[in-house]
C-alpha cells in the first residue's frame, strides 16, 4: 500500500498503521454482513447527467506566475529529477 501511495513508513509507523487500520476495518465489519445484493452502488449523491461546456477558448495562465510556484524549472518547463522508467 505504502508503495502505491508513494509513502515510506518507519517500522514503528508500519506497526502503528497496521494496528489502527485493522481497528478501522474491524469496525467496518458491521457493513460486511449486510445484505446489499439488491442495491446499486451510489457513486454520487446527484442524479445529474450530460453536463457540458461549449468548445470555446478561455484565457490560459501566465507561465511566469505558474512556474514561480514550481520547486524547480528550466527553459519554461518544470524540472524533475531523472525518471527511472517509462509510464506504466
Amino acid at each position: 500500500m505504502a508503495n502505491l501511495a508513494k509513502l515510506s513508513l518507519s517500522e514503528e509507523e508500519e506497526l502503528m498503521y497496521t494496528d489502527q487500520l485493522g481497528a478501522i476495518l474491524d469496525h467496518a465489519r458491521d457493513i460486511m454482513s449486510l445484505d446489499t445484493d439488491d442495491l446499486l452502488p451510489t457513486a454520487h449523491p446527484l442524479e445529474l447527467k450530460n453536463v457540458f461546456r461549449p468548445d470555446v477558448e478561455t484565457a490560459s495562465l501566465s507561465r511566469e506566475e505558474v512556474l514561480s510556484q514550481a520547486p524547480a524549472s528550466e527553459d519554461g518547463r518544470f524540472l524533475v529529477p531523472r525518471i527511472l522508467g517509462e509510464a506504466p
Binding site: N3, L4, K6, A43, H44, L46, L48, K49, N50, V51, F52, R53, P54, D55, V56, E57, T58, A59, S60, L61, R63, V66, L67, E74, D75, G76, R77, F78, L79, V80, P81, R82, I83, L84, G85, E86, A87, P88
Partner: protein, 491 residues
Amino acid sequence: MADNSIPSDGVEGFLPGWEMVVGLEVHCELKTKTKLFCGCANSFGQEPNTNICPVCLGLPGSLPVINEQAVELAIRIGLSLNCTVDKSIFHRKNYFYPDMPKDYQVSQYEKAINENGILELPLSKKTVRIERAHIEEDTGKSVHVGGDGGRIHGADHSLVDYNRAGIPLVEIVSAPDLRSAEEAREYVTELRSILVASAASDGKMEEGSLRVDANVSVRRQGSEEFGTRCEIKNLNSLRSLTRAIGYEARRQVALIEAGERVVQQTRHWNEDQGITSAMRSKEEAYDYRYFPEPDLVPLEPSTEWISEIRTHIGLLPAARRERLTALFSDVSSGPVYDQIVTAVGLGLDDLVVGAAENGADPRLALARATNEVASDIGNLPRLTIEKFSDLIKLESQSKLSATQAKTVLGKMLESGADAAGVAKSLGFEALDSTVIEDLVDQVIGSSPKEWERFSSGEDQLAGFFVGQVMKLSKGKADGKIVTSLLRSKRS
C-alpha cells in the same frame, strides 16, 4: 545490431508454421478548439507551458467540465465504426508519473461511450472487430536532458511541458483480429481515413495526433488458443508499426522454439536499432485502482443528439470508394481498384469525381491523381477541381502528350496556375497532325530497313519510330497520334 529487413507480409513466409495475432489500440487526438476539461487551446507546437490553466495543470481545487464538442467527435468516431453509442461514465486511472498533472488519468473504463463496432479493410476485405472507442485525456510531454541523446534512460533530469495535458483523445481498441503486419498497416491506414473523413481528427501521425500501441502474440498455425501477448507502446509511423510487429512476432517465435516462454510485458520499439525491448517500469503489474470519477457526471447522449451527429459525419471511405468505383465498370479488385483505395486513402477522390463530373476521362484522372498529385500531396490545396479537369481534358484530347501532361501537372501543383497557361509557358503546344505526319514521313524515309521490318509485322519497332518522332518534335508530338499514323501507313 538486429536485422532490419523484416518482410511486412506477416509470419507466413519468414516463420513458416506460425501465425501472429495482433490487436491495436489507437490513440487519436480530437480536432476540438479547446481541451477536454478546460478552455485552453487544443493546438500543437506552442511555447511550452503556455496553454495551461488550473484545470489542465491539476491545481488543487480545480474541477473538470466536459467539452461537448469532444463528446460529439467521439460519437462521430463511434458511429463511423458501426459502434453502439450508449451511456457511459468516467473513471480515474491512478498512477504516479510526472507528465500527469493530477497523478491520475481521467478515462472511460467500465463503460465506454462507443462499444462493439467493426471496421472493414478495403484490400484484404477483412472485418476487424472494434471492442471499444472511449474518451480520455492526454498527458503532458517530457524532454530528457543530459546522458544519451534525449533518451529517458541515463538522462540527468527531465523537463515537463503540460501543453498537451488534457487534450481530448479517443482510444480505439480493436479485437485481436489482425494476422499480419500488413493487415495492421491497412487497418491503421483505413482507420486514419475514417477519422479524417468524419472530421474527428487530423490524423497526423508525424505530429503525434495518432499513436498506436500494438498487442502481439504468436501461435502455431491452426491453433485456436492465444499465446502470451506483449504490448509495444507508442508506435508513431506506419513504418515503425510494421517493423515493430514483425520483429516482435519473430522474437516470440524464436523464444518458443528455443524452449523458453514469452513473458507478458510492455515493450518499447527502438526505431534506430530495429528491436523491441522490455520497458523499465518499476511495477510491471501496476494496480491502477480505477474508481468512478466523482467530479464528473454520466454521459447519456439522447437518440436525437446521436441522429443529429450522424448528419455531421462526412462521406466515409467505404462510400467514397463506391462513388469512385461507380465511375468504372467492374473494378472490385485489380490495379484500378488499388488506385481507388489509394485515392480515397489520400483524400484525392473528390478531385477525381469532380473531374469526371466536368467531363474529363475518369481513368486518366484517377491515374494522374494517384501518381503525380499523390507524390506532391502537400500542394494539393493549390489544385482546384476545375484546373485539374482542364488538364485531364487537354491530355485526353491529345493536346498534351502524357509526358507533357505530367510536367504541366507538376508545375500546376507548385504554382497554382492553370493548365493551358503552364502548357503555353513551357512551349507545350501540341503539334497538329499534318506537322506530325511530315515528321513521321521524314523518319520513315531515313530508316528504310526498320520500316520494312515493321511493315512485315515486327510490331515492337513502333517504339523505335515513336522515339525518333519525339526526338525530332522535341517531345511535342502526341505518341498516340504517331502510333496510329504509323499503323495506317503500314497497310
